[in-house]
Amino acid sequence: MIRLEKVSFSYDKQEIFRDLSLHVEKNEKVGIVGESGCGKSTLLKLIAGLYLPSEGKICVDGETDPARISRKVSVVMQAPMLLPMTIMENITMGHEYPAERIDRVCEEAQLSKWIGTLSEGINTYLGDRSDELSGGQAQRIAIARAMCKDAQIILLDEPTSALDAENTAAVLEALRRYTVDKTVVHVTHRPEHLKGYDRILKMEDLIGK
């Protein structure tokens, strides 16, 4: 499903890793841990087709073209990346989804209660007040967005880093249910979030093999 063969990557002159290989089978759940700055987010962005490797091959669900790969994956980035639009538009990104689906992902991402308190509900414009959202609210919108897109491959980069314990547990449980029949690569500093995963890999073990 996901195949990285001897991939190297540099930002301008700074090399992040060399000869990194990773194979993930269909429906496999893989956790990746490693110290801060070792290139975990960079790796997910490479898998998602956002960057081109300087060397090596990346193949995701049979695709090698980065733009096509991007269409096949869904991600929760480390930064929530909201746009000056309504909550609804930030979740659907302009695509038509059945109302039940949107309601369900809001429920799963623990957004419903908060949205219920807003006078304009899910149609509240985030606009230039997106800085007034809490980090957790923004992150939960990003999670709902990722669940709304119907992709077989889910990439998670510290998806609950801004959430409190209660929300973290609820969101992780929802993600577990949501990804039963999906392929997952989950980057985190907290191995306890990877319970039930098929494999937990250290970044350094992926390199030079």
Binding site: R71, M77, P84, M85, E89, G94, S130
Partner: protein
């Protein structure tokens, strides 16, 4: 304390020097023109011109050149110093903010302030602010001087100018809401552009190009609409005041010409008037534009906090 006051206070020595330079350069310029007028009178009256007179004229001419360039230099240095205080003050405030109390420390917001308010206030300080001192001094000095020379001729110049000024002022009052509307639209647009760039990975993965373009277009259209309206109106007012500003000069030429022919005043006096009317008219006619610019400047400053 208002930002402008802090800036002036922090650079008070430079500001004082700039005011002084403006005063001195305008005085010297006025003396120079007066002596030119006297020279014309002497030539017209076929009087002999003493060496001492020419020497004094030369001294005033040189003093004029020196003080005008000094004024220019000090004015711009002061503006630079103030702009620097503004930028540094903003940076200091930001650093303090991230230490705690204020959480609206969003990068888009900061970029927007840096690109709009700060850049505009900076440009205003550099291009316009100290010319106002100079122009104001020369306007007032010249007015007093001309009144002493010939009150009637001064009034011929002044009264229509003031009438035109009032007219233009009333017109430009209607600009104020347009200015702030344009400013807000521009802020929204910049924010949209910034967050689109920032959220590009998400746009790509969730296939949101269409939505992002739509958002971007909406904000841009808003801005273009209010900006065109603002520009159209300000172009109209400016050309209107440009046309009208010719009227006082015309009246001066007519009335002054008759007075010279009647022997009521000397030709030199009319020359002095013609030379100096530029300063006076420049001051009066540009007043609305300055007030407008100053309003935008202070409006920009209210959005900037400094430390």
């Amino acid at each position: 304390m208002p930002v402008l006051k802090i800036l002036l206070k922090r650079n008070r020595i430079w500001v004082f020097a700039a005011i002084l330079a403006a005063l001195v350069s305008n005085l010297s310029q006025m003396f120079y023109f007066v002596f030119v007028g006297k020279l014309v009178d002497k030539i017209a009256g076929r009087q002999t011109i003493e060496y001492s007179f020419i020497a004094i004229l030369a001294v005033f001419m040189i003093a004029n050149v020196v003080t005008v360039s000094l004024n220019h230099y000090i004015g711009h240095m002061t503006a630079e110093k103030m702009a620097h205080s503004l930028r540094m003050g903003y940076a200091r405030k930001l650093l303090k903010k991230t230490n705690g109390e204020n959480r609206s420390c969003d990068a888009g917001q900061i970029m927007s302030v840096v690109q709009n308010e700060l850049a505009q206030a900076d440009a205003y300080l550099g291009n316009t602010f100290f010319d106002i001192f100079s122009m104001t001094f020369s306007g007032i000095l010249v007015l007093v001087f001309l009144l002493f020379q010939n009150a009637l001729l001064t009034m011929t110049l002044l009264i229509p100018a003031i009438l035109i000024l009032v007219y233009v002022l009333i017109l430009s009052k209607r600009m104020t809401p347009l200015v702030s509307e344009t400013q807000n639209a521009k802020n929204r647009m910049n924010h949209a552009v910034y967050s689109t760039v920032h959220a590009f990975p998400a746009i790509r993965i969730f296939d949101g190009e269409k939505l992002a373009m739509h958002t971007f277009q909406r904000e841009t259209t808003d801005w273009v609409r209010s900006a065109t309206k603002l520009e159209r109106r300000s172009a109209l007012y400016n050309s209107l005041s440009g046309v009208l500003s010719g009227i006082p000069l015309l009246l001066l030429l007519l009335a002054g010409g008759y007075m010279v022919l009647d022997g009521h005043i000397m030709l030199g006096t009319l020359i002095v008037f013609l030379n100096l009317q530029k300063s006076l008219m420049g001051f009066i006619m540009n007043l609305p534009a300055w007030i407008g610019g100053f309003k935008i400047f202070t409006a920009n400053l209210t959005r900037i906090e400094i430390e």
